[in-house]
């Protein structure tokens, strides 16, 4: 009952996390920049090889400098990918909450989380694809990881197309909640596929023995930066959407009286 009451009260304005949202974005940006610098200045190339324009011998393979440099993409690629999954998980959580309470607020939360995850998914695709270009020399292969991730992106796009194609608000939120929950099933598949299908050429760090300390440090900084960025963007966007809803509701109320 309390919930039902809240659900059609006016959409609230700012809440405490909004106060730190801006700072989170700022800190995230700073940390990511630091991570970027560390990737090139602090973290050593793989196995301590040096970048001097000459091919190096690593693990019995000749590796060119270009490849060693492109390895730097990793420091951004993985954190971005992880955050994209995280945002999706939050969207799924809010969708479940919405179905349980029918509180419109959760629908907005889920939608904004989806938007954030779309941004990060696109970034993963871009960084991953740049890497694909340097590492494997092609723009695209139908590797299982790449394919499943592309599919994940399509589901997220489908979520927004669905929202756009339904006019009634209640139906829209219920349907999109259901779709985002179903979409969540794809996340573990996407995560596990490199481990399940051995023929996959997408690397798995944990399987191949991990990173050196300096690399781990850099990844960590980037990771925290990206998480802060994701959170801050989420809150800022949420507040904007919520305030817009509030204005609309106030307008409607004025019109009615």
């Amino acid at each position: 009952m309390a919930n039902a009451k809240k659900s059609h009260a006016l959409p609230e304005g700012g809440q405490w996390p909004d106060a730190i949202a801006f700072w989170a974005v700022l800190a995230g940006a700073v940390l990511t920049t630091i991570g970027f610098l560390m990737a090139f200045l602090y973290a050593g190339p793989v196995n301590g090889a040096s970048v001097d324009g000459m091919p190096e011998m690593i693990g019995g393979q000749m590796v060119s400098s270009k490849l060693l440099l492109s390895q730097k993409i990793f420091y951004f690629h993985m954190p971005v990918a992880i955050v994209s999954f995280g945002a999706l998980a939050f969207a799924g959580y809010y969708s479940v909450r919405f179905l349980m309470t029918k509180n419109q607020r959760y629908d907005t939360c889920a939608k904004v989380a989806m938007e954030i995850s779309l941004i990060f998914v696109v970034c993963t695709m871009i960084t991953g694809d740049l890497w694909t270009r340097f590492e494997w020399g092609v723009w695209w292969t139908w590797d299982p990881r790449l394919t499943t991730y592309l599919i994940l992106m399509l589901i997220i796009i489908a979520y927004f197309v669905l929202r756009g194609f339904i006019d009634e608000p209640e139906r829209r939120s219920i349907y999109s909640a259901v779709v985002s929950i179903i979409a969540l099933v794809d996340v573990p598949i996407c995560l596990m596929i490199t481990r399940m299908i051995p023929s996959s050429i997408h690397p798995v760090v944990l399987r191949e023995g991990g990173m050196t300390g300096d690399m781990g440090m850099t990844v960590g900084v980037c990771m925290i930066g990206m998480i802060l960025l994701g959170f801050g963007m989420y809150r800022l966007r949420f507040r904007q959407v919520r305030l817009a809803q509030r204005v609309q509701a106030l307008k409607d109320e004025l019109e009615e009286n």
């Binding site: 179905l99 299982p144 394919t147 499943t148 599919i151 994940l152 399509l154 589901i155 796009i157 489908a158 197309v161 669905l162 194609f165 339904i166 006019d167 209640e170 139906r171 219920i174 349907y175 909640a177 259901v178 779709v179 929950i181 179903i182 979409a183 099933v185 794809d186 598949i189 399940m196």
Partner: protein, 238 residues
């Protein structure tokens, strides 16, 4: 006459609903003919597309993928129509007015979709064999093909029933269903196609691919069907 109501068992209601779909199909034969013809057309288009190659192409290698592409497109068509029937005269609301468990509606509809899809497959898979595989020699345990077919069909019809319940209420239903269905069904499609290809090629160690892929598909089926079942109540009452 006084009317006595006795709440029927869930199973009876399931049977009643399923029978309705079958009776309807029996009278019009609309679903099976249209899906069948469509499948045939898709086959022809594929044939033309692959017939382009000047060198002999290793058809065995792609046949699994082709077969499943065919099934996906055909089931898209069938799913689209199956809920259009329910909407036509507001029949779905008539059913919703009856005191029955919502998941019965899901189960009945999913079952009829499975049956229609299987019926269409009984026609198209031999045709597929005829068009693409008579020139080559598929592996000997070819008959195992029925397993991925069964698992895939069940999964597609199940999730498809949920999704088409959603899209029947949206603008541009046909595209919307495709947009949701294809990506969500993808892991299943992928696993089934792998299993099918392994079987058809029949190379050494085919079974090492076949069983894991089949298992994956079955697992996906179970998760998705459970999820669809749980979520169906929300979707249909929206």
């Amino acid at each position: 006459m006084s009317v006595v109501l006795k709440t029927p068992s869930t199973f009876q209601q399931y049977k009643t609903l399923l029978r309705k779909d079958l009776e309807q199909e029996f009278r019009t034969k609309e679903m099976i003919t249209s899906m069948g013809i469509y499948a045939l057309l898709v086959l022809v288009v594929f044939g033309a597309a692959l017939g382009q190659t000047t060198q002999a192409l290793d058809l065995l290698q792609v046949s699994g993928g082709l077969l499943w592409t065919l099934i996906v497109f055909t089931s898209l068509l069938g799913l689209n129509r199956s809920f259009n029937h329910e909407k036509e005269q507001g029949c779905l609301e008539g059913i919703l007015l009856v005191p029955l468990d919502r998941s019965v509606i899901f189960l009945a509809k999913a079952t009829s979709n499975i049956l229609f899809l299987l019926a269409v497959e009984v026609i198209t898979v031999p045709l597929f064999y005829f068009f693409f595989l008579t020139a080559v020699t598929p592996g000997e345990s070819f008959w195992l093909l029925v397993l991925p077919l069964l698992v895939g069909t069940i999964g597609m019809a199940g999730i498809g029933t949920l999704l088409s319940t959603i899209t029947v209420n949206t603008r541009g239903k046909d595209v919307m269903l495709a947009v949701l269905f294809v990506p969500i069904i993808f892991p299943l499609l992928f696993a089934c196609a792998s299993a099918t290809t392994a079987i058809i090629v029949g190379a050494e160690g085919a079974m090492d691919v076949f069983y894991p892929a089949l298992l994956l598909a079955a697992g996906y089926d179970v998760i998705m069907l459970l999820l669809s079942w749980v979520l169906y109540d929300f979707v249909i009452s929206a």
